[in-house]
């Protein structure tokens, strides 16, 4: 019997794994290196997921609308609640009320959380934009409000203006 799209995406996510942040942060902090490798690992994982989602749902577009759809699906399967703010041809903004960084230990300082937030979001968002929009065609901004104690964090995906 052929699997439904939801089941296929579930299998796709089940195949992926990510090192638990509460464990990896102290390891990399102690080693004093490995941050680039972590970003690469996030990039590779997210690229595989996005490619898989696009293939399963037959999403061919290379625009913001497609990116928004992929983000919505990826976040929901990752267990992150998303609230869209604005979607236009060149921009997609959203807010999230949960992120992996919120669940790391209390003994991790804000600076360290901020650094790892950047590492993960850089890898994840670049993978999303490169896979959907095309290589280096988008930029992403995140305000880190969640780790600062606010209830929501804003993410903005934008098309890079070409001359």
């Amino acid at each position: 019997m052929k699997k439904t799209a939801e089941e296929q995406i579930k299998v796709l996510f089940a195949k992926q794994s990510f090192p638990p942040l509460e464990v990896i942060i102290p390891i990399l902090e102690k080693a004093g290196r490995g941050e680039q490798e972590l970003t690469t690992q996030v990039y590779d994982m997210e690229s595989t997921l996005v490619k898989g989602i696009k293939e399963i749902l037959r999403l061919k577009g290379e625009d913001m609308k497609t990116l928004a759809k992929v983000v919505e699906i990826a976040f929901s399967f990752e267990g992150v609640k998303l609230e869209p703010i604005k979607l236009s041809e060149s921009k997609f903004s959203l807010s999230i009320s949960d992120c992996p960084m919120l669940h790391v230990g209390k003994n991790v300082s804000l600076n360290v959380k901020s650094k790892f937030c950047d590492l993960i979001c850089t890898g994840g968002s670049k993978a999303l934009m490169d896979t959907v929009l095309g290589q280096d065609r988008g930029s992403c901004f995140w305000d880190k409000s969640l780790i600062k104690g606010a209830g929501k964090c804003k993410l903005v995906f934008e098309l890079v203006k070409t001359r």
């Binding site: 990510f18 509460e22 464990v23 390891i27 690992q41 267990g79 992996p100």
Partner: protein, 332 residues
């Protein structure tokens, strides 16, 4: 579902309010009641609670019937599980994988200096041990069912603590259907639902999720240290376990075993806790009324009036429990 819960809560509050009003009216009216009226009230109360006790008994029989029906359905399936789903080869293969994982992660936990990392590895070892013991119990039952002697292959791999757990679990299985409690526990430890990326550390994570996390972690450490670790071996074990335990889990869910076990648990709770609570609140006033009633005379009226008030209060609470009990029975 929440609507149903709200309506039950509303009914419950209404019943409490009605009960309180009833008690207040009762307390006030007894002061003006004559001896003959009080005697009639007591006789009626005794008869009413006698009927209620009858209803409770009928409810208990119904619950017992439901419990037996579920137990027999599960017992029928248990032999098929022990014979086919849990083949000897499969159990031994899973046990071997779990043994390798236990040894690997015990060594990893011993070599790391970072507490968070050690916690993760120790968690994996503990969960692998839980599943290992549970499969050893199933293997023991399977061999017994087939009239074969226990080879002791798995027992020899246990330390004294694990062996104690194994013996305790083995002895706790008295009925055929109880093997499903063990199988369900295995699956729950293996694949407890997780939120993938935003897993809360306080929540109990599944062994599968912890193993995947550790594989990722080992991969990253390999890249950082440019050294080879035992990652490939763990990946192989993980893949085999996903395949083997996945099949058992699939069959378990197809046969609706978790739901049936949950229904049995509900029936068992009703049979015990609710019955005894209802019995206390109904039998106590009933017995007191039976003692009071023969002693009741014009002269003892003042003396018994306060006691009757207390028994009446207990009786009203008994009615509420009875209604809750019936509601629960209907939902089994």
């Amino acid at each position: 579902m929440s609507y149903l819960k709200n309506s039950v809560l509303l009914i419950f509050i209404c019943l409490i309010v009605v009960g309180i009003v009833f008690v207040l009216v009762w307390l006030n009216t007894t002061e003006f009641m004559s001896y003959a009226d009080l005697k009639t009230v007591l006789t009626t109360t005794t008869a009413t609670f006698g009927t209620m006790l009858g209803i409770i008994t009928a409810g208990l029989m119904f619950t017992q019937g439901k419990f037996s029906e579920l137990a027999s359905e599960l017992s029928e399936k248990s032999s098929d599980y022990l014979a086919k789903v849990l083949s000897l080869e499969k159990i031994q293969s899973i046990e071997n994988h779990l043994l390798v994982l236990r040894k690997t992660f015990t060594n990893l936990a011993a070599t790391t200096t970072i507490s968070e990392e050690r916690n993760l590895y120790e968690r994996i070892t503990a969960k692998a041990s839980t599943i290992f013991v549970n499969f050893a119990v199933l293997l023991n039952l399977k061999l017994k069912q087939q009239g074969l002697p226990d080879t002791g292959l798995t027992v020899s791999e246990m330390d004294s603590d694990l062996y104690r757990v194994y013996e305790k679990r083995r002895k706790s299985i008295r009925k055929d259907w109880q093997i499903f409690n063990i199988i369900k526990e295995i699956i729950d430890v293996w694949e407890a639902p997780t939120a993938f990326f935003t897993e809360k550390p306080s929540r109990k994570s599944a062994l599968q999720a912890d193993l995947k996390g550790s594989v990722s972690l080992l991969e990253l450490k390999e890249k950082v240290d440019r050294s080879s670790t035992i990652r490939s071996e763990v990946v192989k074990m993980l893949s085999n376990l996903i395949d083997e335990l996945g099949k058992i889990s699939k069959r378990l869910h197809e046969d609706r075993i978790p739901q049936l076990l949950f229904q049995m648990e509900q029936a068992s709770t009703l049979r015990g806790k609710y019955f005894y609570l209802a019995l206390i609140f109904i039998a106590a006033p009933l017995l007191i009324n039976l003692i009071i009633l023969p002693q009741l005379s014009e002269t003892t009226l003042t003396f018994f009036k306060q006691i009757i008030s207390i028994t009446s209060l207990l009786s009203v609470m008994g009615v509420i429990f009875l209604l809750l009990y019936i509601h629960k029975i209907l939902n089994v």
